[in-house]
């Protein structure tokens, strides 16, 4: 159990810069998720913390100790790999015992700890099997067991659920979150799945092209995305982006004229310099509702396709030239073609400048707790 601190961490392969000046503090006991598209450097960052990739520049502290030049074997971390990486020639029991054997634990100690880990993960009945005789989910649990058995300072998870089918993934997601509650360890988890990030994390680190795009709680990232990239990455279905430009800036917000027609007054911190400049308005599919008098932003949608998910219905269509996804205002089957009028509250809207930066929102969203 420990904190982790990254100070200006760099990674380069030759002249290709993979990670640039990463600063990050992970507190003791936090569940931190690195999320980003492939190639964003999230796995590389995790492997640098683990000691599997050399650090090109900057400093890495684990438990307030500089570990840049400490071998992976001596960092006392536990890691779960995407491929599980179980030792194929050993039984489950031997797999679980391996980290303890390396730590030179006594026979009795090994037996006790293996039994504890096995019962925690409900793999007691599998102890004498070889990895190839296990299902994907069972292998996953053995891999987690092998990581926790030594009671490491920090757990590292490298996309551990991406090889499982959907149902099992949801189960394991819950199980890992529970495990975090039980053990209280610091955990760092890498995924490209924003749903995993949102559901498990205390703190999400969004990475893009080797830079940290934003760090924050799932709620902060969802309601106050710092950039258009984060806004588009977090949340499903994706946020809609509509083109427009700023007509005026007041104390209470800015006036945006949308390319699709209407004008909206969005409560964001105004910036006189932006008047007349192009802007992107972002609105989440879930923030649309029925047209009403007090809603200022109204869109007319040419319906392309309707998706009924049971608890919610999404309408896919076009507003002018721009594709829009919206939650249908009612649950009953929506029209599969024709036009639908939708509206949203300006307070739910986000504004992004041409270079992708978000304008700071002035009001907490209605569902912010």
């Amino acid at each position: 159990m420990a904190n982790v601190r990254l100070e200006g961490l760099n990674k380069a392969y030759g002249t290709i810069q993979i990670l640039r000046n990463i600063d990050l503090t992970i507190d003791h006991g936090e569940f931190v998720v690195f999320v980003g598209p492939s190639g964003s450097g999230k796995s590389t960052l995790l492997r640098m913390i683990g000691g599997l990739e050399p650090i090109s520049g900057g400093r890495l502290f684990i438990d307030n100790e500089l570990v840049n030049d400490v071998d992976a074997a001596d960092r006392n971390l536990g890691m779960v790999f995407q491929s599980y990486a179980l030792y194929p020639h050993m039984t489950v029991r031997e797999n679980l015992a391996f980290p303890l054997r390396m730590a030179k634990a006594t026979k009795a100690e090994i037996g006790k700890r293996v039994a504890e880990a096995a019962s925690l993960l409900q793999i007691d009945h599998l102890l004498d099997r070889k990895p190839r005789q296990l299902s994907g989910g069972q292998r996953q649990r053995v891999a987690i067991g092998r990581a926790i058995v030594r009671e490491p300072k920090v757990f590292l998870f490298d996309e551990p659920l991406s090889n499982l089918d959907t149902e099992l993934r949801v189960q394991m997601r819950v199980q890992i979150a529970k495990l975090h509650e039980q053990l209280g360890n610091t955990m760092i988890y890498v995924t490209h799945d924003q749903v995993e990030a949102m559901t498990m994390a205390d703190k999400i680190v969004v990475l893009k092209d080797g830079n940290i795009e934003q760090v924050g709680s799932p709620h902060e990232l969802y309601h106050y995305p710092a950039s258009r990239f984060v806004a588009g990455f977090i949340g499903s279905p994706k946020m809609n982006f509509l083109g427009g430009h700023i007509e005026a800036a007041h104390e209470t917000g800015v006036e945006v004229r949308l390319d699709a027609g209407s004008t909206v007054s969005v409560p964001v911190r105004p910036d006189q310099l932006l008047v007349g400049k192009p802007i992107t308005l972002g609105i989440r599919p879930d923030d649309f509702s029925q047209p009403a008098e007090d809603k200022e932003i109204a869109l007319e949608l040419d319906v392309d396709f309707v998706e009924h998910l049971g608890s919610v219905t999404y309408i896919y269509g076009n507003a002018g030239k721009e594709a829009v996804v919206a939650k249908a205002p009612r649950l009953e089957p929506a029209k599969r073609s024709g036009k639908v009028r939708l509206a949203a509250s300006p307070a739910d809207c986000h504004l992004f400048t041409a270079n992708g930066k978000a304008l700071q929102r002035l009001h907490a969203p209605a569902n912010w707790s």
């Binding site: 990486a85 030792y87 390396m102």
Partner: protein, 286 residues
Amino acid sequence: MRLNRSGSTNIALNLLVGICALTLAFPLIWILLMSLKQQGEVMAWPPKFIFSPTLENFRVLFDAAQAGATSYGTIKVDFLTPVTNSVAIALGSVFVSMLLGVPAGYVLARRDIPMKEDIAFFILGFRFAPALLVVIPLFNVFQTIGLYDTYLGMIWVYQVVTLPMIVWLSRSYIEDIPKDIEEAAAMDGAKPVRVILHIVLPLLKPGLIGASLLIFLLAWHNFALGLILSSTKAPVTVALLKLLNPGVQFYPVMAAGLVVTMIIPVILIVMGQRHLERGLTFGAVK
């Protein structure tokens, strides 16, 4: 889906396989029969396939005390020494090659070193040159430094034959082991040496058994190096040549020598067949 063939196609195919097998087996069977015949029967025409077998030829081969007196002339052979030599040289070569080649294969498979592919190709390059090309200058060198006709010298020079194979085979086997597994072991607190001892070597075991069989055979069958660089420590392949006596040709004794030479690899192959197949596929099948 199963392929359905007509009966006649099946018979034709089986016949072809049979002809193939017979063609391959015929010389071996012929030699075996020859080694069990008397001198007179060997040259008989038409060849006899039914005769009363004798082990006399094998006795002559190994009975150095009696100086190989046969009923049809004298031949002085001592076949036990070359067999011992061959076993010692081949086993020694395998041992040294494993000791040097597996670590080299590991580095080529796993580490980023400059000019890696060039080094690998250079090592394989020893297999391209005919051994005879190096053997003449080596004769001089060996005589000068006192390695001529020693086990050490023979095992050393046999590395030209065996080491490249082991380096390349073990490299490809190690590349087949997912890197994640080694990294997992490192995360579990294993230092590099223990990763190799506890993880890599156990996983390599089947492949290495196959590879060592393969190079044992290569060493066993080598002729040129032993012919030039040894006399009393000559391997069995060279001893076979010495059976070619000027004057009387002791064909049955030569056949017996061939049978003895073949029997050791055959025993090894039967014992390690499963592994040998893996050795021959060169790690291509995962």
